[in-house]
């Protein structure tokens, strides 16, 4: 189907079904129960799952296939966001032109950055991308304030021209919409205490993510994708055989930049505001974390990683000490106190600690990320082939991007 082989079609269908049913799957606990804390099925979070999923899928096309570790991808997300918000301010609150423009602008910007940065490889490339991103951040914060709104950022205002909207006779009060369908609109279903929320914005973003996911599968399976993998394995050898790798890596860079721009545009479409902190290097670091956590170079890994990190950011950080005390009230006082004190370290404001620890454990013990670990574990459990097959998987997951200096 759609030019995919059977396995990939199944994967795509599975992802499609999971995203479609996400409002049910992420809300497994009834409203008002003590476990309702863990429900992730509210619109804001679900939107973030899919949007950052797109961001990570795009990043994976660059890092997973070519091995070039960019530390500045948040710049493209930010540029996309600014482009989208300007489209909303000047033209129309319809999200389609905003998203299209954000992809185009981010693509052009990544063409410029990529053209310069890709002259170097290894850590030099990482530092160059980081430098560009930090420059964009600093400029958005200071000199470019007329365009970016500086520290306060940008939101649509009543006084904005919105040429297309005015021509069609709408007043300035409209919200972000898709031909009249408002992004913030939700429809709730109440079933025996379970409350499921279906949000227009989420489904729009999820639809876009499915397209993005489909495109990434096609890229992974194409001759172009094969060429990118060859770059990762051994760029020198490719150069010796007479292949100019620059157009391929640049294309991969621009594609992943466009994915980032798309994510930025969608973020603006969901909550119409943007600030420069979106481009700070920690945001670039976050997408690296997502991709690694889920599994570099795997199709579904980045989406899982993005989901996991955003879930932890929103759910784990909500668990405070009072809540923990309530949960462990059944234990004897001293033991309960100890448990609460220890757990409080890892939850609430300390959720970054959990993130750092999980991340370290994944890098140390599962170089292929969660998905790589699952595949490896699965093979070990249902060992059908011989040992060489196992070894082949292993070497596929951790191809040396560079030789350590001795």
């Amino acid at each position: 189907m759609f030019g995919l082989n059977r396995g990939d079609t199944l994967l795509l269908l599975l992802v499609a079904i999971l995203t479609a049913l996400a409002p049910f799957l992420l809300n497994p606990f009834p409203e008002g129960s003590s476990l309702a804390q863990f429900n992730g099925g509210y619109p804001d979070l679900m939107q973030r799952f899919v949007i950052f999923g797109i961001f990570a899928i795009g990043f994976n096309i660059l890092f997973g296939l070519t091995g070039y570790l960019s530390f500045g991808h948040a710049a493209f997300l930010g540029v996309g966001s600014y482009a989208a918000i300007w489209m909303m301010k000047l033209l129309t609150m319809n999200v389609i032109p905003a998203i299209i423009l954000s992809v185009i602008v981010a693509g052009l910007f990544s063409l410029l950055v990529g053209y310069i940065s890709l002259r170097r490889s290894g850590i030099y490339f990482s530092i160059l991308t980081l430098a560009f991103a930090q420059m964009s951040y600093a400029l958005a914060y200071s000199v470019l304030t007329p365009i970016t709104g500086g520290e306060t950022g940008l939101q649509p205002k009543l006084s904005d021209p919105r040429v297309l909207d005015t021509m069609l006779g709408a007043d300035g009060t409209s919200r972000a919409n898709l031909f009249g369908l408002e992004m913030g609109q939700s429809w709730q279903m109440d079933w025996n205490g379970w409350v499921f929320t279906f949000n227009t914005g989420y489904y729009v973003a999820a639809f876009v993510m499915l397209i993005a996911f489909y495109l990434s599968i096609r890229i992974f399976r194409s001759p172009f994708g094969l060429m990118l993998r060859a770059v990762k394995t051994n760029q020198n050898r490719l150069n010796y055989t007479g292949v100019n790798t620059k157009p391929y890596t640049l294309a991969a860079f621009v594609i992943s930049g466009m994915y980032a721009g798309l994510a930025g545009g969608l973020l603006v479409a969901m909550d119409t505001q943007v600030g420069p902190e979106r481009m700070f290097w920690t945001a670039s670091g976050e997408v690296v974390l997502m991709t690694i956590l889920g599994g570099v170079g795997t199709l579904i890994g980045p989406v899982l990683g993005a989901g996991l990190i955003k879930y932890m950011e929103n759910i784990l950080s909500k668990i405070n000490e009072g809540l923990l005390e309530k949960w462990f009230a059944f234990m004897p006082e001293t033991a309960g106190d100890i448990v609460v004190t220890v757990l409080a370290l890892f939850t609430g404001k300390g959720w970054h600690l959990t993130l750092g620890l999980i991340f370290m454990l994944v890098v140390i013990f599962l170089p292929g990320g969660l998905v790589g670990g699952l595949i490896q574990g699965g093979r070990r459990m249902f060992r059908t082939g011989d040992r060489s097959a196992d070894r082949k998987v292993k070497s596929n997951q951790t191809p040396p991007t560079s030789t350590p200096v001795e």
Partner: protein, 343 residues
């Protein structure tokens, strides 16, 4: 002229911090071949050594002074640090005021242990892994370390004053023939610069003039041959890692009075220090120091109002701009060696 000179001086203290961190990074990279993203966290731990020591020294007991009353008319509660009891009020107070310089002594063993444990416990297992993995695992470690510090010391910056003897400013201009009060410079920053120069000199002398340094330099050039000669090079490289951790820690201790330590100061410095290392050339100690001072001074010159008038916003981006230009014109950085970090 005066303004430029003043800005150069202003750039020196930040440049010193960059140079010290970059020196440590390069030591680790040159010896172990590991890209250590947790180095900023070591700098931060150093700064918090100063905070911790000043907290310990201020540890006090409460006595009730019957002769004085507070505004409600109750007897006044006076906190008396234990140091006052042990050493007498005068010496005790001096010790408290000098807590930052004293923290140098306190921080060296702490940083040594931290560095040693880090290398033996974690980094050692990553020699053979790709650079990307090393970056990622140390990045994770940096997050963990800074979260631990945040848990114990809170998220707000903690002011840690320098000894009052160094509180004032020094009239540099008068010394070299300018009008008085034109170029004045805080004492502590001058001390920081001198301290950084001392440490950098010590590290270079150690590598250049001791047998240990000779072996380490040989190992940096050709690890295998040194190993074949029957020298346990790994052990010495571990020591070098601990030394690099101490250098970062000392840079942090002395930086505490300049900028109140907070838990993410390490990350802020790390990003810039990496730019510094790359500009100086991966693996080149001299390059790291040179680039550190160069970028520090450039940054502060770019923040002069005359410069900003012509090129608005240049002060925010000058470091990155210079880094991009240098990397594109000199692929190995200012003083990089051939064959380091090139696939």
């Amino acid at each position: 002229m005066e303004a430029i000179l003043l800005q150069i001086l202003n750039g020196l203290d930040k440049g010193s911090a960059y140079a010290l961190i970059a020196l440590g990074l390069t030591l680790i990279f040159g010896t172990l071949g590991v890209v250590n993203f947790a180095h900023g966290a070591l700098f931060m731990i150093g700064a918090f050594c100063a905070v911790m020591l000043s907290r310990i020294m201020n540890y006090s007991r409460v006595i009730i002074d019957e002769s004085r009353t507070d505004f409600l008319g109750n007897p006044l509660k006076v906190e008396v640090p234990y140091l006052h009891d042990w050493f007498g009020p005068e010496i005790g107070q001096t010790m408290i005021e000098w807590s930052v310089p004293l923290a140098i002594i306190f921080s060296i063993p702490v940083m040594w242990v931290v560095g040693y444990v880090m290398e033996r416990g974690l980094i050692r297992h990553f020699y053979k892994r790709p650079h990307a993995d090393q970056i990622l695992v140390t990045f994770g470690l940096a997050i963990v370390l800074q979260e631990i510090v945040k848990h114990f010391f809170g998220a707000n910056p903690i002011p840690t004053p320098a000894p009052p003897a160094f509180a004032g400013s020094f009239d540099v201009g008068a010394l070299i023939g300018f009008d008085p009060n034109v170029i004045i410079y805080p004492y502590w920053r001058l001390i920081y610069f001198a301290f950084a120069a001392l440490i950098i000199g010590a590290v270079f002398a150690f590598l250049q003039f001791t047998t240990f340094g000779l072996v380490v330099r040989a190992g940096m050039n050709d690890r295998e041959t040194v190993g074949l000669l029957g020298i346990d090079i790994d052990k010495r490289f571990t020591t070098m890692f601990a030394i690099a951790a101490c250098v970062a820690g000392l840079a942090g201790v002395m930086y505490a009075p300049i900028n109140a330590p907070n838990y993410h100061m390490g990350m802020d410095f790390l990003v810039l220090s990496f730019v510094v290392v790359v500009v100086g050339g991966m693996g080149s100690l001299g390059g790291a120091v040179l680039a550190g001072f160069l970028l520090g001074v450039l940054e502060s010159i770019a923040s002069m109002s005359q410069v900003i008038e012509y090129l608005p916003g240049i002060n925010q981006i000058v470091i990155y701009l210079v880094a991009i230009i240098i990397l594109l014109t000199r692929p190995r950085g200012l003083m990089g060696r051939k064959g380091v970090m090139e696939e």
